[in-house]
Amino acid sequence: MTPSALAPLATGQPNPVATRNAYGDALVELGGERDDIFVLDADLSGSTKTKAFGQAYPDRFLNLGVAEANMIGTAAGLAAQGKTVFASSFAMFAAGKAWEQIRQSVCVPELSVKVCATHAGLTVGEDGKSHQMLEDITLMRVLPKMRVLVPADAVEARLAIRAAAATPGPFYVRLSRAATPVVLSEDYEFVLGRGALLREGKDLAIIACGVEVAQALAAATRLAADGIEARVINMASIDPIDAEMILDAAAECGAILTAEEHQIRGGLGDAVAQVLARNLPCPLEMVGLDDSFGQSGTAEELLAFYGLDATGIAARARDLLQRKA
């Protein structure tokens, strides 16, 4: 790997922004560029940030009320007539309550419905386990034809939404409630199916997505203080995944740690494990939830409690290095 392959990181200390805010802004931007874009919501437009689109383009915004299954079906009908449709709710309800409609009415007929689900993961915080969707990557990734994106920050969220709009077919974009650090610079380029190398290192590679990318970078800084050089990869494109970047990391670092705000069963860790097991097995550990739901608390408290913060990631990295031959 040459240093030029590193993705550009944000400089200075930009204010934290939630990816859902970037989503709302991206929709308004797209709405002005294309008149085939429709946006649907299920009584959460203030929280999912689709409201601004609704105000700018009321003729192309539909609020379906608290009825997620019907929202997805309606989105499919619009898409079958040629529209590009963004449909939003909290991840729990979009991916959870309407999974069957996403499968039958969106993925089977391969329609351009972009399910953009906010409030994913532990960082929902105080609402607790009923609202902390930790299984959606699994549920969406398993669906044929579905592409799954988990942007690391607001910069990438905007680009991921634009990629979803520009690419025909079903998409699931996982977004967060909490304001999180902006890690990527404005000239970062998102490419569907490509990971982004954020930090070079040869001792191990940390492959992260979503809010865990900032935590992984912070963990790498701490590890470096102890002389451990961790490569950090942002894997926003979970499906299609960047197998080449994963295999390069396995070959060059010899140990891989995944980090996600999600169950380790079926999520990013599983996707990486599948690439490794089939091609180049190497010591692998996964940071995430393991057979556990979340609970109420602040985002920071929860990431720390479940070992998903920089401290937890660094500790798991040290454990993993013990296994490296």
Binding site: G73, G77, Q81, Q101
Partner: protein, 279 residues
């Protein structure tokens, strides 16, 4: 507007052809659902041959009418009508449910065959039809969106989510025809789960709703004209039908929901429908 007596008897002939096709297809497949589509054959014939704008000349026109068979298991009759309209090659009908055939066991969207949507999981179609109707209206298209549903499907909650939103968005270009045969898989509806008066329910949700005899071609034709004239409310036509209609031993028998006739039953059924079965 009323059907001429000549046209009425033509339509009766087509409905009989649909019934023969259903039996031939399900018999050839050795499995499938004969009962429901036999009961739907009359109102489906009027819809497809008198109202639905779908034929080989407009097949790929984006602004043509759309049709969704939300009770997807009843697709044998739907495929037969697409063949009668010259869209599906007739010889494909006997490959229904066979490996490699586009005539899947439940409909799969196929723009070249006029199959407008994938269905099979009950409860989903009316939402999709509502989305299609909203899109058609937004595009300024003068098209109608038709969707069939059934009494059994009306047990699904999503139907009523869709009923709420279709009325809220005032999609006057949407018509749902409900096959009300009082039968679902496990028995008669009034024993398994009584959905009661669906016309009253749809009306309470803000729809234009009528109850008709689903075997009365004139009543179906009138109801479809009325539905098309509705500009601001979606329409529900509750079609009272008899499952297995036209085949004496299948009529009102829940057991014929999803079983293929054996050779002997097939021969008898075809004889009742005025034709000797080819062996």
């Amino acid at each position: 507007m009323a059907l001429s007596s000549e046209r009425r008897s033509e339509l009766q002939g087509i409905a009989t052809q649909v019934r023969r096709d259903i039996l031939t297809m399900v018999h050839a497949a050795g499995c499938g659902h004969p009962g429901g589509p036999l009961g739907m054959a009359d109102f489906m014939t009027v819809l497809f041959c008198e109202h639905l704008r779908l034929d080989p000349t407009c097949l790929h026109a984006p602004d043509r009418d759309r049709f969704i068979l939300s009770n997807g298991h009843t697709c044998a009759g739907y495929y037969s009508l697409l063949a009668i309209k010259g869209i599906i090659p007739r010889e494909e009908l006997v490959r229904f449910r066979k490996f490699g055939s586009p005539l899947q066991g439940h409909p799969h969207r196929n723009p070249d065959l006029g199959i407008d949507f994938s269905t099979g999981s009950l409860g989903n179609g009316v939402s999709v039809a509502t989305g299609m109707a909203i899109a058609a209206r937004a595009n300024g298209w003068d098209s109608q969106i038709y969707c069939t549903s059934s009494d059994g499907e009306s047990e699904e909650g999503q139907i009523w989510e869709a009923a709420t939103s279709a009325a809220h968005y005032g999609v006057g270009n949407l018509t749902v025809l409900v096959d009300f045969n009082d039968v679902q898989i496990d028995g008669h509806m009034h024993d398994v789960m009584n959905v009661r008066d669906l016309a009253q329910k749809y009306e309470a949700f803000g729809w234009h709703a009528v109850r008709i005899d689903g075997h009365d071609l004139d009543a179906v034709d009138d109801a479809l004209h009325e539905a098309k004239a509705e500009r601001y409310r979606p329409s529900a036509i509750i079609c009272r039908t008899v499952i297995g209609k036209g085949v004496s031993f299948m009529e009102d028998q829940p057991g014929w929901h999803g079983v293929a006739p054996n050779d002997e039953q097939y021969a008898q059924a075809m004889a009742e429908l005025g034709e000797t079965a080819a062996s």
